[in-house]
């Protein structure tokens, strides 16, 4: 017998087995009524239903927040602040013809986008096929000719899209679960690749962190790639949304007209777009001396 106890695989499988057991035993005791559980190679997914809401949870035994929720009485309504906030990107490009959404969740953002822009080509990237399955079965998510889901790591898809010369008018980055951070999606090199597939008038919308060290590092990294961007926060939301374009963003005053124009169409989704322009800020409220995250240096999970 040679040295067959190399630490990592053993560690990984032990942790996996332990968490599996833990999940099985704890989920039985939680108070939230679970209507469905889906096993996945990445994490276990639970669907809960209470108070007129249906939600998707990852690793709910560890107290994770809901990934996505749907109002059962009004399924079109966007329940979370950040999903509504991400539509602020439309102020900078109000008729996207091609849309890329990294991170599916319950599929609310791509569904809204395809309803608003039925002609737009929408590509959705999701690493976990189990999430796609749950979104389709429980959250009214549907693929169509213009709306395609790709089960792929966002970095891989975006790098290849760059090689193929694809361009998108609206790119939404929403691949963070809050628990584990895909560090290769935070780096300067990744954002350069995103920029490469952004059409000249295109807009990047990133749902990111508002807490801790990572906020500073991430802001500095976006700034390094896109220049000045809109930092968008709303009271009552723990999220911050970054809205960026190729070379800085236009004057805030120019956004009032598109807001007026979008308002009637977005009302159905509970998006108060008229309020948004005033809340977009370009002033750095982060520590600008922080280090830019790169493929060489990206300890996102340790900084969080």
């Amino acid at each position: 017998m040679m040295k067959n106890t190399k630490a990592l695989p053993v560690l990984l499988s032990a942790v996996f087995a332990a968490s599996l057991l833990l999940t099985l035993s704890v989920t039985a005791q939680t108070q939230l009524p679970i209507i469905h559980e889906e096993r996945s190679v990445y994490r276990n997914i639970a669907v809960t239903e209470y108070d007129g809401r249906r939600c998707m949870l990852f690793n709910q035994n560890r107290g994770d927040k809901n990934q996505t929720c749907m109002d059962l009485r009004d399924p079109k309504k966007l329940v979370f602040h950040y999903t509504r906030m991400s539509l602020a990107g439309l102020l900078l490009n109000s008729e996207p013809k091609s849309v890329l959404v990294a991170g599916l969740g319950g599929g609310s953002i791509p569904m809204v986008m395809t309803e608003l822009f039925p002609q737009a080509q929408i590509d959705v990237l999701e690493i976990d096929s189990a999430v796609v399955k749950v979104a389709k079965e429980f959250f009214n998510f549907k693929e169509s000719d213009n709306l395609k889901v790709h089960v792929v790591d966002a970095r891989v898809f975006i790098k290849r899209a760059g090689l193929l010369g694809k361009k998108y008018d609206f790119i939404m980055l929403d691949a963070f679960t809050g628990e584990y951070i895909p560090e290769h999606l935070l780096t300067q090199e990744f954002l350069e690749e995103v920029k490469q597939i952004l059409s000249p008038e295109g807009v990047v919308v990133a749902n990111t962190f508002s807490s801790s060290n990572l906020y500073d590092h991430e802001s500095v990294t976006y700034q390094a790639v896109f220049g000045e961007f809109y930092n968008f926060k709303m009271p009552g939301s723990g999220n911050r949304v970054i809205i960026a374009q190729h070379d800085g963003v236009p004057e805030r005053s120019t956004l009032r007209a598109p807001a007026q124009q979008l308002h009637p169409r977005l009302r159905a989704y509970d998006v108060t777009i008229l309020e948004y322009p005033a809340r977009l800020d370009t002033r750095p409220d982060w520590d600008t001396s922080r280090r830019v995250l790169t493929d060489q240096y990206s300890p996102g999970n340790l900084l969080n």
Partner: protein, 215 residues
């Protein structure tokens, strides 16, 4: 007296280098995930590729190392393993991006892309590092009766090194240093291991000779 001192010195150096060897292997493995992520993502199969290739490299390394140890086991060959491992680690620093760019274009499926990349980048150095374990046992074993005990000791030390390498790299190195800087550090440490082995076998000999004459 001096002979037993030398034996102890050699024994300690072989144990320490085995510990470091275990450390370096897991440190490189952990960083492998970061090397591959920009091209193949961090999906579960990228880790699958890396771990598979590391296990394969080690298993073959054990086999070759064991075979080599039965033919004239000597400290110079042992030291050469470390120098060779250091040399073969350099392409990970210099050619990883070039290699992955080529592979990314040719192989669309990130599973096989990451598997081939891991094979090309990690098989050579890790296979050599796998040779260290059986060879060091051969250098330490003095009698058949103690062979199991010596082997146990060596696995203990090298696997402990692996545990520490995993922990320190994932908790601290990636926070303190850039990826390539850690890799350079590991290369330097491997070279130091080789030099220490040579020094440990040479050092007492020089001192011993005049004493022998005086006797």
């Amino acid at each position: 007296m001096l002979e037993s001192m030398q034996k102890n010195l050699i024994r300690s150096v072989v144990m320490i280098t085995a510990f470091i060897n275990g450390f370096v292997i897991m440190s490189i493995e952990l960083l492998g995930g970061r090397v591959l992520a920009p091209y193949f993502g961090s999906s579960v199969y990228v880790w699958g590729s890396i771990i598979t290739i590391f296990m394969l490299s080690l298993s073959l390394g054990y086999l070759f190392g064991g075979r080599l140890s039965s033919r004239n086991p000597n400290p110079v060959s042992f030291a050469l393993f470390f120098f060779l491992a250091a040399l073969l680690t350099l392409p990970i620093i210099f050619f990883a991006d070039w290699t992955m760019t080529k592979i990314f274009v040719v192989i669309e499926d990130p599973r096989y892309g990451s598997l081939l990349t891991a094979m090309l980048l990690y098989f050579p150095p890790i296979c050599i590092m796998g040779m260290v374990s059986p060879y060091s046992i051969r250098l330490l074993v003095q009698s058949e009766q103690h062979s199991g005990r010596t082997a146990g000791h060596l696995y203990f030390v090298s696997t402990l090194g692996s545990a520490l390498g995993t922990l320190v790299t994932s908790f601290y190195f990636v926070l303190w240093f850039e990826l390539d800087h850690v890799m350079w550090g590991l290369v330097a440490v491997l070279i130091l291991c080789g030099l220490s082995v040579l020094a440990a076998y040479r050092w007492p000999v020089r001192q011993a000779k005049p004493m022998e004459r005086s006797v």
